[in-house]
Amino acid sequence: MTRATVLYFASLRDAAGVDTEVVDTKAADLAALYRELQQRHGFAIAMEHLRVAVDGTFVRWQEAPRDGSEVAFIPPVSGG
């Protein structure tokens, strides 16, 4: 099991009902972790419209979740 902190923003946070949660996961990569959490919270945004970041840096979906890391799923941005 890997224990990571997941951050939610914008509509993902609204759907999750929390802006952060600690998750214990067996997901092999961040893609699998998203699918897991998508099922739990009913996220409407498909993975291909998201990016994923770990500890404040964008990373690839193929990376494995690391213990003690901070994972953020980044919905399409709308700054500016």
Partner: protein, 138 residues
Amino acid sequence: MTRFILSDTPLDTANLRADLLDARVGAYASFEGWVRDHNDGRQVNGLRYEAYAALAGNEGNRILADALEQFEIIDAQCVHRVGDLVIGELAVWVGVTAAHRDPAFAACRFIIDAVKASVPIWKHERYADGSNDWLHPE
């Protein structure tokens, strides 16, 4: 150097501009995004910007470093608001200085495009009909 900044208080463009004054500068191009009273045909009453601050700082500063490397410019800065904004309020400011106007314009455009495309900031709009929505353009 921190060239990209998130601010939770109103921006003063006169101060932001003054920080870029330099005797070598011949051209100053700036861009500002202001909160419009409409979007996609809906009447907007106000909005809120939320950011993932750590990643936004990293991404924003990377974009500004890219601009300084790609264009013949002297300096560049970008500040983006977070929090609640009213109609007419300044949401984002980009300022670029250069000896000549070609690179000043090009870098200014590059920066605002890149910031809009990849910096983790989200807009939450409140509409005149009482509804509200996160904007997640695809």
